[in-house]
Amino acid sequence: MNILIGSAIIWAGALWALARVRRDHASELRTVWTISLDTFVFMLPRLMLGLISAGFLALLLPEAFVQRFLGDSAGFAGLLIASVFGALTPGGPFVAFAIGASALKAGATFGALTAYVTAWCIYSILRIMSYEVPMMGGRFTKVRLLYSLPVPVVLGLVAQAVM
């Protein structure tokens, strides 16, 4: 359902933009097709490999281990480890949240949970390689990741202080 809505929105936008290019810059239409095709050819194998890997990795994830570890981890080192686990957790939205929920039951602190969820949001490796690098380029991706580096641990510290 989500995919349908997303596809409809994006195609409405794309058709509108293409119509405008055709009306105002007809000579550029060819360039638009060439760049689009080039990007698509670049992206397709990455997208396929990324999706298939996500499926496999979700099966291999040692959930019990991660849950226990998040439950036990404490202090700065604990937040750091929670961040690394978050960055390495693959798959769709439910995987990390489901693990986080069980970790909470296993005694994880809100700080560790915050660091884990935040790192997972920022550093989804498969999303970065299948979507971000092909569509945004290496420089943008590098800047975003570099500046976001401290965010999971910092938010974990804030959460620990507040809760």
């Binding site: 995919i3 997303g6 596809s7 929105i9 994006i10 195609w11 936008g13 794309a14 933009a17 405008r20 290019v21 105002d24 550029e28 638009v32 060439t34 760049i35 689009s36 080039d38 990007t39 698509f40 194998p45 990455r46 997208l47 396929m48 490999l49 990324g50 999706l51 298939i52 890997s53 499926g55 496999f56 990795l57 099966l59 291999l60 939205p93 949240f97 489901a98 986080g100 929920a101 909470l104 809100f110 949970l113 915050t114 935040t118 949001c121 920022i122 498969l126 390689m129 979507y131 971000e132 092909p134 569509m135 945004m136 380029g137 943008f140 975003r144 500046y147 965010v151 938010l155 959460a159």
Partner: protein, 190 residues
Amino acid sequence: MSAPDPSPQTPPKKRKKIDAGLITLALICAASGAAVWVLHGPEVFTDTLLVELGFAAMLLPKVVGGILLAVALGYVLPRERILALAGPDSGVRGLAVATAAGALFPGGPAVTFALTAGLITSGADIAAGVAMVSGWVLLSANRTLIWELSFLPAHFVGLRVLMTLPVPILLGLAIRHVARRRAITGEAAE
């Protein structure tokens, strides 16, 4: 309305089709596939492969639309208005607008990256782009409401969102600050 830049920068033209990124992805895929085959058996392997291929087929129209949108937007958006809204001098307000756009716009990676690439081509700076992508990855309203709230306690989700709210803007400010300092020291060195 101004004439848009005739040669948009993103996405870059001709590039190597096989690079370190593709090889890494292929290795991850092969290794995880082999592990699933060994640990869970060939049946689970095939099932997973088919499910993901089906998912990829459903995603493809969206991806194609996203790419066309990203490229065409670069020619269509009013350059000086985007420059004022989310350009290097748009201040905290520009970063806040970018963050909100990223957080509220539904549709997943194909939509968000397409819009961001189009905006950057049309005059938004990389700081606004990072704010927009960060707004989406950290605060996506769609994902928070549908997924996060169904798994995690509401007070945790509320606190996480509240704490995270300023992060995309702070990232954007940091990027702009460094860019400005570089520009100043670069000029001084000349």
